[in-house]
């Protein structure tokens, strides 16, 4: 693999300057934010590089345990932000992300898909947790929006004798569907429209394309499954918070 020198890396400033210049040219007002995000991104990535180097030097179970725990907490905090107003949003996010990670990791190890090594488990878990975090956040947001927008339909369903679960079915279905559709679409076009990040990374790192696609298949299908489970857990648990015990819709 070719090493990118520090000098070469510095030329990336030119790439940053393009959107910054466009921002000033068209008065978009995002110039400062683009510079700040780029600097922050670079610093974060360098730090993570050192952290990962440190983690990979630790015994596998310690490195994996420590970093997966950090990722789970950060992802849960982020997802819970979208669930503002929903009780226990953080705990819900954390539990569903833990469940997903344990489920996926167990299958990977059990079926000998990847070895239990920090170098393999940490980046792949990161992808699972990251995508599940987005799905969790979107599921929270979707539930809130749907309960707001479909208030009339829910009241109609309740007035016809439906209980909270029956009245929420349409919203639960929509939420799970919304979480799954982007993944279904991306699986359909995978490799045709763009080479996925993991596959690209492996090829750049010197792996053969055939080897790279094997990893990509594992991660893409695992993400698809995790995202679906996440949306299902969040919608099946959170709908209850929109009703009281007397099957009345809360404001």
């Amino acid at each position: 693999m070719t090493n990118i020198s520090n000098l070469s890396l510095l030329t990336m400033i030119l790439f940053v300057m393009i959107p910054v210049s466009l921002s000033y040219l068209f008065s978009l007002g995002i110039g400062k934010s683009a510079i700040w995000s780029s600097i922050r991104g670079v610093v974060q990535l360098f730090l993570i590089g050192y952290v990962l180097t440190f983690l990979f030097s630790m015994p596998d179970w310690q490195g994996v345990g420590l970093w997966v725990a950090v990722m789970l907490v950060i992802a849960s905090l982020q997802a819970a932000k979208r669930g503002k107003g929903i009780p226990y949003a953080f705990l819900l996010s954390l539990s569903s992300l833990i469940l997903i990670e344990v489920f996926v990791l167990s299958l990977w190890i059990l079926f000998n898909i990847i070895p239990f090594q920090s170098e393999q488990v940490i980046p792949m878990s990161g992808m699972i947790i990251g995508n599940s975090m987005v799905a969790t956040g979107l599921a929270f947001e979707r539930m809130k929006n749907e309960f707001h927008d479909s208030k009339g339909k829910i009241l109609a369903a309740l007035s016809l004798g439906a209980n909270a679960s029956q009245a929420s079915q349409m919203i639960i279905r929509k939420t799970i569907r919304a979480a799954m559709i982007p993944n279904v679409d991306s699986l359909k076009t995978i490799g045709l429209v763009q080479l996925p990040g993991m596959m690209t990374g492996l090829i750049l790192g010197g792996a053969s394309p055939i080897e790279a696609i094997r990893y990509q298949i594992v991660i893409s299908i695992s993400i698809f499954s995790s995202v679906s489970i996440c949306a299902m857990i969040i919608s099946l648990v959170t709908y209850r918070f929109f009703f009281n015990r007397k099957m009345q819709l809360l404001e």
Binding site: K153, L160, G161, M170
Partner: protein, 231 residues
Amino acid sequence: MKKLIEVDHVSNERVSNVHFSLMEGSLTTIIGPSGAGKSSLLLLLNRLEDPDKGEIHFKGKKISDFPISELRRNIGMVFQQAHLFDGTVEENLKFGPSLRKKWEQNDGVKLLEKVQLSEEFLTKEVENLSGGEQQRVAFARTLANNPEVLLLDEVTSALDMRTVELMEELLHKLVKEEGKTILMITHDLKQAKRLGSYTLFMNEGKVEEQGETASLFQHPKTAALKHFFEG
């Protein structure tokens, strides 16, 4: 006629000390300005909301003592907007009965007949229906549970004259032939006169005046009702 529902000095955020009774097999209309608490009152009767004070009795028993789903099936409600569920007309019609596995093949056609829609409507997607058709399907969907009481929240306000006539005809039939008890909010005073045997006038959350429809319209007692009639 016997008392089917008794609303006993009920109050919450939007209604205040409301007291009236509904007789079995009667059609009572509610009139009053916007924001008078009319819709909120219907929500209380269907237990979509609960009062902070007072009690509502159905067949002599507190409505809070009924299993809530059973009560809502027996005191059916049709909203001002149709609020149909995504899918076909048939899926909407069988929503209530299917919850108790009481839906039979022929039921859809019978319900559509009641609201004067043809059998072909069963397979139509609800999004392809006109406003009037949607409202009729919503009405049929509530009738599918065979409720004893019907709460109607301005169900004819967005309909054309012909559909209004059809609906009024249906309401008459439901009361006279099937013995249903109807409580109906209307903004159309002529409709209230045409349909109601008893009328409640609500204003600022209170039932300011109530009585036989003809007498209430001919001899309004309160200044608020007189003012309301004057428009």
